[in-house]
Amino acid sequence: MKKLLAGAAIALMTMSGVASADGHANYPERPVMMMVSYGAGGATDFQARIVTMTAGNEDALGMPIAIINKPGAGGRVGWNWFATQADNDGYTLSAYNVPHFIAQSIKGGVEYSAASFEPIANWGADPAVFVVGADSDFNSMADVVAFAKENPGKLTFSGAGLFVGHHIAALQIEKAAGVKMAYIPTKGGGAAAMKAVIAGDVLGGVNNLSDAFRAAASGSVKILGVADLERNEFLPDVPTMMEQGLDVDNSSVNFRGVMVPAGTPQGIIDKLAAKVPEMFANSRVAGKMKAGGSPMHIMTRDEVKAMWAAREETLKELLAGL
């Protein structure tokens, strides 16, 4: 067994050796793997499968991208693996979720930071929204804040966990309104948090715009506000938090994109950074994303780099007191 493993490792090393010798002109020469640090069926997994479906086309990478799920501990398991064990030969990509991984690295206990990864491109931006049950008395963020002021610490609202976009939005709302509310992190992601709102287990909740849009369409929830800089094309009638007098910016927006481990050859990074945004812009991809209610937001490597740096700064400040 050991010999077999060693043999396989040597074979892999020689393969990657060959790849770096020829100046990456032929990259990629074999199918590429992309790790998603959430389970199959989650929003990140679902979108990753759509945006990579045209990778095999000649005008894209010319090689298919296979999705591999390494879920666990809010993404920490997958990103730990990616930062420490993944090969940096360009054949192992990963999906990222900002602010999740940056917030986790600030809180500590993980083996990565923003410096462990090199961004390639961003495909989507899913803002956090505030939802309440369809029969709730709350009709605007002002109602929510008024209730929270009268009953400090008694307004229960759900979200997908601690130190994820939902939690960041929750912290920002509390800070902006100057109130104390009871954030209830759920196990089982956004779907479980949404169920808690629909079933009336909690009075409200922070959730993904894409999931909330669907739940609102089926008549189970009302969406009171969007935690982003501008209104969203999926929900043109829902005002932003800022419009409602709450100073909440886009720090909690869930940006999804592709990255590689630090140390990946510059030639490969450049090639990916040029090709991948084009691949995302494919009309078939855009059609499927729109049909699924997933907001797209394509950003290039340089734009993502700036976005990561900006997030890191705001999050450090926001999480300092916790």
């Binding site: 501990a73 196990k187 089926s218």
Partner: protein, 503 residues
């Protein structure tokens, strides 16, 4: 009755072809250790990109139905439960196979799956709106009590000793705490990097069930060369049907338990089989035969895990809430075609919704037919010499645990737990209660923490966990269940005393 109108759609050449592919492929994937129904359905998602919405869902629905049933094949023949749903099937199923009655065990399991599965889909067809309200009634406090109810059956699941059963359950619950805690993000017992994500349930299942068996097979092979020749009995399907009709109690308990548990979001099919097994054991007149290759055990477990398929889709199709990981993957299959589940689905896309549901009904029947066909070959497996069999099972265990999430860490976990379990088994502990602890621990913990957080913000813990009709009902069942186990233990002790004095 709208669903009858759409049956025609299922029988168009393409749809029916996909149904066949999904069913046969699902049986094979389900029988492969390590490929849970969720993984199997996720693997098929890319193929649905190129199909129409209804056709894509037919493929996914058929695969879901038949992977759940297909898991019984490896559970019975190899003692590797393909998914948590099939744990209970190994208890009696593998014992039957060891006695050369593998064909009979498989026939019974597929027939029971058919009955349970069809009942579950009919619930989905006729009672969806009603059931969706019921599904929402289970908040954190109710789910906590359900998990505690599950804990109370840990003791009675082990046929040897209540104390050893409870101890195994405790070990399982401790193992469940390993890793990052999902709510607070605290790190617990992570002394090796492969434990960061906690113990993967599929890898644990493979290790706990398959490895002790492999070790004892190898050990036996050294001592006595081919001493054991198992007589293989051919078993007629009609006999199996007759057996099934004699065991209506186990069949109806299995079907009912599976349907109810399948409906509860977040608990899902993981424990349906085990709870049904335990309940039918308690109500059976021949409860002492359970665990020794008794047909009721298989019937209850398999009817339960297929009965759960239909109701588990109710929260998804009516409320757009995926109640199980598999439902979440199916949600992706719907979204990719721009169809939003919820009331919108039945109003605006009835052709998709009903064709999908109808295909699950036909899929159940196809699954049973192909399953029975497989069963006729299964007898040959027991003709394989033990040393070869051990090597095959070991290979499948390595492959299965690696393929869950392409992680060598899961293989380490599988091997460690397996070797540990081998020694535990020699001391009379068994794997089923341990696994139940592993499954229930996180459900109980997460819901208790969440419930406490809500309770602290509102009316206090006592009021939160002990008010409401459903809470009180569940607490009453928990007390009954504990009382029953205690009573059985005491009465069985006095039995042995009596035997001692009379003999």
């Amino acid at each position: 009755m709208e669903f009858i109108y759409y049956f025609g759609e299922v029988f168009t050449p393409i749809s029916f072809g996909l149904l066949l592919i999904g069913t046969i492929g699902g049986l094979i994937l389900g029988a492969t250790p390590g490929l849970s129904p969720t993984m199997a359905v996720a693997l098929l998602i890319p193929f649905t990109f190129h199909l129409e919405a209804a056709q894509g869902l037919i493929l996914l629905g058929a695969a879901y139905t038949s992977t759940v049933a297909g898991g019984a094949v490896s559970a019975i023949l190899l003692k590797i439960p393909g998914a948590p749903a099939n744990i209970a099937t190994t208890l009696d199923g593998h014992t039957m196979a060891q006695k050369g009655r593998g064909a009979e065990a498989l026939q019974l399991s597929f027939l029971a799956s058919l009955v349970g599965g069809v009942f579950g889909v009919f619930l989905l067809i006729f009672l969806s709106p009603l059931l969706s309200k019921a599904a929402l009634a289970f908040g954190p406090s109710e789910l906590f009590w359900i998990a505690i109810l599950g804990v109370t059956i840990i003791g009675s699941l082990d046929s040897n000793s209540v104390v050893k059963g409870l101890l195994s359950g405790c070990i399982g619950m401790w193992l469940a705490t390993i890793g990052f805690d999902d709510i607070m993000g605290a790190q617990r017992f992570i002394f090796h990097s492969s434990l960061g994500g906690g113990i993967n349930i599929i890898a644990a299942l493979i290790g706990l069930f398959a490895i002790p068996q492999v070790i004892s097979m190898f050990a036996k092979g050294r001592v006595e060369v081919d001493a054991e020749v198992i007589q293989i009995e051919k078993h007629s399907i009609f006999d199996a049907i007759r057996e099934l009709t004699r065991r209506t109690r186990a069949l109806s308990i299995g079907t009912a338990v599976g349907s109810i548990i399948g409906l509860i979001p977040g608990v899902g099919g993981q424990i349906a089989g085990l709870v049904a097994y335990d309940q039918s054991k308690k109500f059976s007149k021949e409860s002492h035969k359970f665990g020794t290759g008794h047909s009721e055990g298989i019937i209850a477990a398999e009817s339960a895990n297929n009965a759960m398929v239909g109701p588990s889709l109710v929260p998804l199709l009516t409320l757009s809430i995926p109640g199980s990981p598999t439902a979440a993957v199916l949600l992706g299959g719907l979204l990719i075609h721009g169809i939003f589940p919820g009331s919108d689905l039945f109003d605006n896309n009835p052709d998709v919704a009903w064709t999908f549901i109808d295909s699950m009904l036909i899929g159940q029947i196809l699954m049973c037919i192909f399953g029975l066909y497989i069963a006729s070959f299964a007898a040959r497996v027991s003709r394989v010499p033990q040393s070869v069999m051990a090597a095959v099972v070991l290979g499948l265990a390595l492959f299965g645990s690696y393929s869950v999430q392409h992680s060598i860490g899961d293989v380490y976990v599988m091997a460690t737990l397996g070797i540990g379990m081998y020694f535990l088994e020699r001391f009379g502990f068994s794997a089923a209660p341990l696994v139940l602890g592993l499954i229930l621990g996180p459900i109980a913990e997460a819901n208790f923490i969440q419930g406490s957080m809500i309770a602290n913000a509102t009316d206090g813990r006592l009021a939160y966990f002990f008010t409401g009709n459903l809470n009180l009902l569940l607490v009453a069942i928990v007390i009954l269940s504990i009382g029953y186990s205690a009573w059985m233990e005491i009465s069985s002790r006095s039995d042995t005393k009596n035997e001692g004095t009379t003999s």
